[in-house]
Subunit: 280 residues, 2 copies
């Protein structure tokens, strides 16, 4: 869809949260992976903050700067025709004004959506106070309106990831936060962590808006999540880490065995790779 304006892409992306099918969102970490996902037919592509950070040599968790993260987002958004949404971690700031600036830069980079998490710092069991997190979301929504791009904000709560509170209290705590974020203008509500169908069903009933679930090992398939009523599923940094796992195995094979055939097995040919990037 090369003729869509950025505002139209945002609307198109939003509508994918309300269609008959679940929105299965692959997370890219460089332009190559983003082009591969678009070519496979996904109607939108997300970035993985962990994947982008790792690719540039940083651990996950806002160790990368906002500028470096957005440079990758911008390269990806320029290369693709489908809508792109950016994982912006906790927004690279603490105040609503800083969130507005992050939203402005995301739009400038060509993306039409962003993820904003409520963790205060990595591994901390403290989440941002709900009223402040709402203000942050409102500031981002306002910036989108101001710039004429209805930014699709995917508000994430880390109740499950940070294991906050008693397990039995987490559905309610998650719903409380996500519903507050929805009220502040978030278009999509992200609860990464739960992977059993009964918990996800409870969340679906308690959350008043499109629910986003993270794909997890041993968790339900995309079709099962769709049946449960999940609106969006993110695959996260899995493919990037599968890629790093493969590179690590190839490196050890080269070092220990010294034959080259494994790196040719199942590889994208030189010609196909060049064709892919000539198209984009």
């Amino acid at each position: 869809m090369p003729s869509l304006t950025q505002a139209e892409k945002a609307q198109r992306f939003l509508s994918l949260h309300h269609g008959p099918k679940i929105l299965l969102l692959p997370n890219a970490w460089d332009v190559a992976s983003a082009c591969i996902f678009e070519d496979a037919g996904f109607p939108a592509v997300a970035t993985s903050s962990a994947g982008v950070a790792n690719s540039l040599g940083y651990p996950d968790g806002q160790k990368i700067s906002r500028g470096e993260m957005l440079e990758v987002v911008s390269r990806i958004a320029r290369a693709l025709s489908v809508p792109v949404t950016a994982d912006m971690e906790a927004g690279y700031g603490t105040t609503p004004d800083e969130m507005a600036e992050t939203a402005r830069l995301v739009i400038e980079a060509g993306a039409v959506g962003l993820n904003l998490e409520d963790s205060v710092s990595e591994g901390s069991d403290k989440l941002c106070d709900i009223p402040l997190q709402q203000e942050k979301i409102r500031a981002m929504v306002e910036m989108g309106k101001k710039l004429g791009v209805p930014l699709v904000i995917n508000a994430r709560t880390d109740i499950y990831l940070e294991e906050i509170g008693e397990p039995a209290s987490r559905v309610e705590a998650t719903a409380k936060r996500l519903n507050a974020y929805r009220e502040a203008g978030a278009s999509s509500l992200f609860a990464p962590g739960p992977k059993d169908a009964p918990t996800i069903e409870k969340l679906i009933r308690a959350v008043h808006g499109p629910l986003n679930i993270l794909a997890l090992k041993g968790g339900p398939s995309a079709r099962e999540l769709e049946k449960l009523g999940v609106a969006r599923v993110s695959i996260g940094s899995g493919p990037m880490r599968a890629s790093m796992g493969l590179t690590s195995r190839l490196a050890k094979h080269l070092r220990d065995v010294g034959t080259f055939d494994p790196m040719f097995e199942g590889q994208m040919t030189y010609i196909d790779a060049n064709r892919l990037f000539e198209r984009h």
Copy 2:
């Protein structure tokens, strides 16, 4: 070796071309792959021009700018302790002065070696005239001396890749060019293309300097190349394209099957990935 100066790294890298063992050089395309290769114990890491270009969304063949290529080289060189050598294609210019500037920028990026090919343009059967290619190499060597970093120039001829001249004439044509490049100051002589032992043996005898061979499907293993007398073997963009092949298969599986387990098979864990980048 975090305490080595850049000049010492250059000397160390040069000495690896003259040791008892073949120098097996893995080619990285981003900081993640470079860190994985260093962690596997390789004594030096190269970049893959095709891999870096693809990762940023460009086809191979100088479609990427010199600045973008060097930004990746610089990130990789900053993250690693071992010597880094940069694939600079045809040097991103046509004159000896432009080559001197490319050499200066490579050193500024923290690398201690570079690849320079003699193709005039992609897919052309015309190579740079030998005297001009010698002048280019001399300009790069001089810049290294001026900056106090004895740059390890890996001079490549594309006689085989571009299939220039009758097959029977190629050993001689390759040796003529590589010996001229050696005379101009190249430390390593790169003849990508041949993969049968008899041809490689003939090249070894005809070329007066350390010979670099490209790892190819069905070609000799590192040990076989070492026995033949090859000084250096480059693995090229194989691991990056293996990675893109894997991403493409994962994308199709997600699209067609919608289960998530394949991306968890053999992946680097989130914790191991973070640890890897905390160390670098």
